[in-house]
């Protein structure tokens, strides 16, 4: 929503530069990770996912990197565009049958300077 970006850390990048958005996750046993993008006034939208048995996954203009040693997830956006301005959330999922757990990060605001 429109107030989602308040109180969140902000990353400001120049249009055309590459962006790197970082996320520290909490559970070393988490199986699956997702990045979501939320534009102002809209619900979150899936960007890319990665399973815990992978280190890297590439999509169109986006790459997700997973470092399980330090419980760190990053989203790289190539050639950042004004339309990339949004709040970005990481999500970690632990699958344990009936007690599966999904946890969202608090989010980071990406601001693209023209």
């Amino acid at each position: 929503g429109e107030s989602v970006g308040l109180h969140l850390p902000t990353l400001s990048v120049q249009e055309g530069d590459n962006s790197i958005i970082n996320c520290a996750y909490s559970n070393s046993a988490s199986d699956y990770f997702i990045w979501y993008k939320q534009e102002s006034g809209k619900g979150p939208q899936f960007i890319i996912d990665i399973r815990s048995n992978m280190d890297k996954r590439q999509g169109q203009r986006v790459t997700v990197l997973l470092n399980k040693t330090v419980k760190h997830l990053s989203l790289q956006i190539a050639a950042t565009q004004p339309g990339d301005s949004a709040v970005y959330f990481c999500a970690e999922i632990l699958y344990t049958g009936a007690n599966s757990k999904l946890t969202f990060g608090k989010g980071i605001t990406l601001s693209v300077r023209p």
Partner: protein, 112 residues
């Protein structure tokens, strides 16, 4: 074009009122979710449902209930709204558990 729709974008209610928030998805998804989103706190899961008439509590179910009578529809109910339930409410659906979720546009609820 797949879609998750929510009954209202903005809603203003008074303390003590009963509030219904409705969500409909057209993707034949088994799983549906209700979240609230507050500045600085991120998305927090209230309830989810993995099948018709089935529900599971999320992280913050207190003060809320849900109903899923049809596969495509998932309702969030505030039995007696309170000011601390003023928030953005987001509905989502997924085909597989917590995997890729499709979100609705959100309902901004203000409780006076």
């Amino acid at each position: 074009d797949v879609k998750v729709t929510q009954s209202s974008r903005y809603l203003v209610k008074r303390t003590g009122e009963k509030v219904f928030l409705e969500c409909v998805q057209d993707m034949d998804h088994e799983n549906m979710f209700w979240y609230r989103q507050d500045p600085g706190l991120g998305l927090r899961l209230i309830y989810f449902s993995y099948d018709v008439k089935m529900k599971e509590k999320g992280d913050i179910p207190e003060g809320y209930s849900v109903s899923r009578e049809k596969k495509e529809r998932f309702s969030l109910i505030l039995e007696s709204a309170s000011t601390n339930q003023t928030s953005m409410y987001l509905c989502a659906s997924s085909r597989v558990s917590y995997n890729e979720q499709f979100f609705g546009p959100g309902t901004r609820l203000t409780v006076l």
